[in-house]
């Protein structure tokens, strides 16, 4: 890929990171709920939606860590896991997003 591609790609990648930071803020809210032992279907559905989006896009934007932990979270939320397990998977993804944004 040429330098014009790289220039434009960087622009989209930056916007992806900004959006990931917004998703990160939402995830942090869900972590508090999971820590409090709550995991209602609406919350789980929203977490799954965010995880699916990040898992599909992260690697394309050269953030393999985001794709991989988002994939784990998606897998986790699909199964009947304890809220504490969900909280842990969320935290791993949050850490990856923050690393990408740093």
């Amino acid at each position: 890929m040429n330098s014009m591609f790289e220039l434009k790609f960087e622009g989209i990648r930056r916007r992806f990171v900004e959006r990931a930071m917004d998703q990160c803020a939402a995830l942090e809210g869900f972590v508090s709920a999971f820590d409090a032992g709550e995991s209602d279907p609406v919350t789980r559905r929203e977490v799954r939606r965010i995880a699916h989006s990040l898992s599909g896009a992260g690697g394309t934007f050269r953030f393999a860590g985001i794709s991989s932990s988002a994939g784990d979270l998606e897998d986790c939320v699909r199964r009947p896991r304890e809220p504490s397990a969900l909280a842990e998977a969320c935290r791993a993804l949050i850490a990856e997003i923050k690393r990408a944004a740093a």
Binding site: F5, I12, R19, H52, S55, G56, A57, G59, T60
Partner: protein, 455 residues
């Protein structure tokens, strides 16, 4: 006859500017410094831009040779084989010479020559070679429709494909995809499986409901890891599956491979094997599509039906091989003399159809007449058996005829009028009697079209 040229707001020149010379593929010509430029004229008649390098002081490459689509070198040119060796690194080289011995062919092959044409030069053969070697210039870039509700991903895929020379259109709203397909005619659809409101699999099913899109490749993009779901996606109309996250280099390679194959297959299904033009069915599809577009946008298209004069006579007098050559040369002259956006098809037998977009009939007449004039000057055959061929054409416009049936019937009527008026002319309903287009109205068409020409 109704003569009402005030109906049209645009003048002929505004509506149908001559094909931009820069748009036509350039053919470099290295001929003898003493040549009479007949080769330059012949190449121009075939619809190419002829660039002559036949100067006495040797070739002066003032035009960048990188811009040339092919070169013609004659045995009379200065240092022809050296020139061939030089130019074959840049583009295909055609060699024209009286010596077609094995030794001469070997020397030419070593100099990188693609084809040798003997003397006297047969224009039909030259047209076919140029068409084969340069024909691909008319191919538009591979067109990809990207459907992904993630705007950033869709933009990134588009960026990667565009960087690889493809044309990409992004559609983030699945419900708008069917409309988008009619507008853009994609060669391949790249589609996310998981989208809100409508899944990619449902959308693929809807695309496959249309006969026209049965062979269109659909490549799914998905973060879906379950093999069962991937199989379901394939069973329901998907051709391939790329797992997210997508590696962009792999995406580009796979899309190009799939699209290339689909374009080749479609071309076999949609094109006439003799001339390479759209076949009757596909041309009619495009006509329907363009008329519908005009109804929506208020634009105007013109249809020209073209019929070779006394074609049966050509076949009888010169054989079917020559007859086929005439049809292929006409196909090439038409394609070369029109804009890229115009649509050319073989209607059947010796009849051709041309759809000129955004052009009123009077302007279309000017364009088709220019091609008529150019084509009628091409000499076919060889030695004492050379002959010229003419065509008659009728033109009709979408403002007066809204359905495909009406516009075809009107153009057909004008074409028969042109035949009855003596052939070798282009007529439309707007042509006043005094302005029938013919270079030699006093001469019978038969003598014009089949008269043997002295060399």
């Amino acid at each position: 006859m109704i003569v009402n040229s005030t109906t049209f707001a645009m003048t002929s020149e505004e509506a149908a500017p001559p094909l931009n010379a820069r748009e036509r593929p350039a053919i470099g010509i290295f001929d003898s410094p003493d040549s009479d430029d007949s080769l330059v004229e012949t190449v121009s008649r075939l619809g190419y831009r002829a660039v002559s390098y036949s100067t006495r002081s040797g070739p002066q490459l003032t035009t960048s040779p990188e811009g040339l689509a092919a070169v013609l070198i004659t045995g009379g040119a200065t240092d022809p084989l050296e020139r061939a060796a030089e130019m074959s690194a840049v583009c295909p080289v055609l060699f024209i010479g009286a010596d077609v011995s094995v030794e001469a062919r070997l020397a030419a092959a070593r100099a990188g020559v693609s084809a040798i044409l003997g003397r006297p030069l047969e224009i039909g053969e030259l047209a076919e070679w140029l068409n084969d070697l340069v024909g691909s210039h008319r191919e538009t870039p591979i067109s990809i429709l990207i459907v992904d509700d993630d705007q950033f991903l869709a933009e990134t895929y588009a960026l990667a494909l565009e960087s690889a020379g493809m044309h990409a259109v992004v559609e983030s709203d699945p419900s708008a995809v069917l409309g988008q397909m009619t507008a853009t005619y994609p060669d391949l659809v790249l589609m996310d499986v998981a989208m809100p409101d409508m899944s990619g699999i449902e959308l693929a099913k809807m695309i496959r409901q249309s006969r026209r899109h049965l062979s269109l490749p659909i490549v799914f993009l998905s973060a879906e890891q379950e093999p069962g779901r991937q199989l379901e996606a394939r069973a329901l109309g998907g051709d391939d599956f790329i797992a997210k996250p997508i590696d962009l280099d792999r995406l580009v390679a796979l899309v190009r491979m799939r699209a290339d194959r689909a374009i080749r297959l479609r071309s076999m299904m949609e094109r006439d094997s003799l001339t390479g033009l759209l076949n009757h069915g596909r041309f009619t599809d495009r006509l329907d599509h363009e008329l519908e577009r005009c109804r929506r946008s208020g634009g105007e298209v013109s249809l020209a039906l073209i019929d070779v004069d006394f074609f049966k006579g050509v076949n009888d007098a010169h054989g079917h091989v020559r007859g086929d050559q005439v049809l292929r040369t006409l196909a090439q002259t038409l394609s070369g003399g029109l804009r890229r956006i115009d649509i050319v098809g073989r209607f059947g037998g010796e009849e051709f159809g041309v759809l000129l977009l955004d052009t009123p009939p009077d302007a279309a007449c000017v364009v088709i007449d220019r091609i008529r004039h150019r084509f009628s000057g091409i000499e076919f055959g060889a030695r004492a058996r050379t002959f010229c061929v003419t065509f008659s054409a009728g033109v009709s416009g979408s403002r007066s005829h809204q359905s495909a049936e009406e516009i075809v019937s009107a153009a057909d009527g004008q074409m028969y009028r042109a035949k009855a008026a003596g052939r070798n002319r282009v007529l439309t309903r707007l042509s006043p009697p005094g302005q029938l287009r013919n270079d030699s109205p006093m001469q019978s068409a038969e003598s014009v079209s089949l008269r043997p020409m002295a060399e």
